[in-house]
């Protein structure tokens, strides 16, 4: 009889941390190829076009980076709390609130301001909106132990209907009064918009998102709040014993996470949509942030790389639509993302366990 079992590895090598995500990406592409083939597409052609569309031309690369901007921020939103075993999966809703607050601030407060100030106002308002939307979940979690997983998700649905109401369901302040038949958001003034890089769609939000990633890294590594968050994450009781205010730390962490989600919405408004645009915002950027964070193993710098990669994947989904012949659905990129994540989770255990295959004597009972 052959026995296969998982054994704890005694030593870990640095390359294992790189190998697992890489292999999971490859495995996911292999799995995706099966589904593509079943639906009658040639996987190799699709993957080649996918890569070409996102990563070879200047416009492809800058478009991928443009989508990476909100993904870096929602990735950070997930990473900050997931590493503490707090699961804010509502970055999607916090992003909507960030867009609602950000576009309001852009419309109401920034006229005549210099651009740098105008954009700052939009971003701050967005962060406040996102944090406010995470606040109920944070308070319920800290004081009643209510599962933040479900509450943040329910708040996402509520945010979705709120945003639709503001544009499609009412003559709100956000809605362009000229757009009666096809309701649209009112455009924010140029003073509230990120500047673009030459003639591409890429905007300065990229630099902002990278700076925020750096800031989060500093917060986690070098501040006492970051230390408290680590301790609370590894053990509630140890934290309490060490005199760390657990409730306050949980609430602050979730508010920071919400603010990051809100910033993602605000950068979309200031950099791409220039208005509260439900159709342009309901892209699942918040949910993709979870994939980004998990693949990057919650490391802020890895998040920048993974967000760019997944941004390219998403960008390619759209670009593939332009191909001649049968249309490859945009959703192929969402499917691949899910598969990558599943393989990454499955592969995780092999970074600290290894398979041991041995011939065991069935007579010996272990």
């Amino acid at each position: 009889m052959i026995r296969i079992r998982l054994e704890r590895r005694l030593e870990r090598h640095w390359w294992q941390t790189v190998l697992t995500p890489t292999l999971s990406v490859l495995a996911a592409f292999a799995a995706g190829a099966i589904f593509l083939a079943i639906k009658g597409f040639d996987p190799i052609t699709v993957y080649r076009e996918l890569f070409k569309a996102s990563f070879t031309s200047t416009y492809g690369i800058t478009d991928s980076l443009t989508i990476a901007v909100p993904l870096i921020l929602t990735g950070l939103a997930a990473a900050v709390v997931f590493r503490m075993n707090l699961f804010n999966i509502g970055a999607e809703g916090q992003l909507y609130l960030g867009a609602i607050f950000g576009s309001w601030a852009g419309l109401a407060l920034t006229d005549g301001l210099p651009t740098i100030l105008g954009v700052a106002v939009v971003l701050i308002a967005g962060a406040v909106g996102g944090a406010l939307w995470a606040a109920p979940a944070a308070v319920f979690k800290a004081y009643f132990g209510t599962s933040e997983i479900i509450s943040t998700l329910m708040l996402t649905f509520i945010a979705l209907y709120l945003m639709r109401y503001l544009i499609f369901g009412s003559n709100s302040y956000w809605r362009d009064p000229e757009s009666a038949n096809f309701p649209q958001g009112k455009k924010i003034p140029t003073s509230a918009r990120f500047e673009l890089f030459s003639d591409t769609r890429l905007h300065w939000g990229l630099a902002f998102a990278i700076a925020i990633a750096l800031l989060i890294w500093v917060l986690i590594r070098f501040t006492s709040l970051g230390f408290d968050m680590n301790v609370v994450g590894s053990s509630d009781s140890a934290a309490r014993y060490a005199g760390i205010p657990v409730r306050r730390t949980v609430i602050i962490a979730l508010l920071i996470s919400g603010a990051l989600g809100g910033l993602a919405g605000a950068t979309e408004v200031a950099g791409r949509a220039y208005a509260l645009d439900p159709n342009g915002l309901e892209l699942g950027l918040g949910f993709t942030g979870i994939v980004v964070a998990a693949l990057a193993r919650y490391n802020p710098f890895a998040i920048i790389l993974v967000a760019t990669f997944l941004g390219g994947l998403r960008n390619a989904g759209v670009a593939l639509q332009g191909l001649p012949g049968d249309r490859v659905p945009v959703e192929v990129s969402l499917m691949l993302q899910g598969a990558i994540l599943l393989f990454a989770i499955g592969g995780e255990i092999f970074s600290h366990h290894r398979l041991s295959i041995s011939r065991a004597n069935p007579a010996v009972v272990t």
Binding site: S151, A294, I345
Partner: protein, 313 residues
């Protein structure tokens, strides 16, 4: 007050409760064995899209329902492999299942999006019982899946409380180490119950596209029902019959807009706000019933969410 509309709303609430109840009963089975599966929404979507294709091709509702259930079970096996065998984080794995399920089902269902399905479950009329005012249309003139769901809840209650196998499942959820010592196959029981959960979630998704909204669209079909089902398990304190009651409450919240929009006394509430009702209700229910202290008292399985590793017993 418009009585007729109110009764119609109640009757519609029973139908709307079926998918919520089925998905929650499935999750209850998985959680009782100690495995938290947040992937309900993903399993429902896979069940829905497969059932729609089979229903569309064969015209047989029952075949479609079975295929939807099997697809859900197969899909949930991913979670079982990751969490039981590979001992991955159950929360992250469940989330991944939702993301993959959303992508895969939309990819599979692209060609059938918005296509109508002209078959529907025929209601069973219980003779003169169906003519009783209010109770008749609400309870005795519903489609077969309503009665099937009630039967499933009864069977699960009996199974978990009165059979030896059910006792073993609960032992695995409470203390896998002890169960293992007693010779119970922990991993096998967890696999089976995660997949039974997937089966019921798949059927819930199938019922949505076959009976409730007879067409497929990724964001409109489930609309967060899988997540509501998760909250419902907590609300029902892991008891199958309370799941039915809770599901009716949520079903009513989902259908209340029909009734409220026709009422003179009701303030003119925008449709978007009425759509928020079930989600608000879920948060309220979780805050009250899902608190840490209460959870322990109302009977959450002790080993819920914890992977079992024999070496670390």
């Amino acid at each position: 007050m418009n009585d007729a509309v109110f009764v119609l709303t109640l009757a519609a609430a029973v139908g709307a409760a079926v998918p919520i109840a089925l998905a929650a009963l499935g999750e209850l089975l998985a959680e009782t064995s100690g495995v938290l599966n947040l992937g309900v929404e993903g399993m429902m979507l896979i069940g829905a899209v497969m059932a729609f294709q089979v229903g569309d091709a064969s015209g047989s509702l029952w075949l479609a329902l079975v295929v939807g259930g099997l697809a859900g079970a197969l899909f949930s096996a991913i979670h079982a492999v990751l969490c039981v065998t590979l001992r991955a984080n159950q929360i992250v794995s469940g989330l991944a299942l939702v993301i993959f399920g959303t992508g895969l089902s939309t990819f599979i269902g692209k060609s059938i999006e918005g296509k109508p399905l002209d078959t529907d479950f025929t209601p069973i009329r219980w003779g003169f019982l169906a003519d009783i005012p209010v109770l008749g249309p609400v309870l005795f003139d519903q489609d077969p899946m309503v009665y099937a769901t009630i039967a499933i809840a009864l069977v699960i209650t009996f199974y978990l409380n009165r059979t030896k196998a059910g006792l073993a499942v609960r032992a695995v959820g409470e203390s896998p180490g002890t169960a293992d010592t007693m010779g119970v196959a922990v991993a096998a029981i967890r696999y089976v119950h995660v997949m039974l959960g997937g089966l019921l979630a798949g059927m819930a998704g199938a019922y949505l596209v076959l009976g409730q909204v007879p067409s497929w669209s990724q964001d409109g079909t489930t609309a967060g029902i899988g997540w509501i089902a998760l909250a419902l398990v907590v609300f029902a304190s892991w008891r199958p019959l309370r799941v039915l009651l809770g599901a009716f409450l949520f079903g009513f919240a989902r259908r209340a807009n029909f009734w409220l929009q026709g009422e003179d006394w009701a303030p003119d509430i925008p449709a978007e706000f009425l759509s928020m009702l079930p989600y608000l209700l879920t948060i309220a229910v979780l805050v009250v019933w899902g608190s840490r202290d209460l959870r322990r008292r109302i009977g959450a399985p002790s080993a819920l969410g914890v992977a079992y590793d024999r070496d670390e017993r």
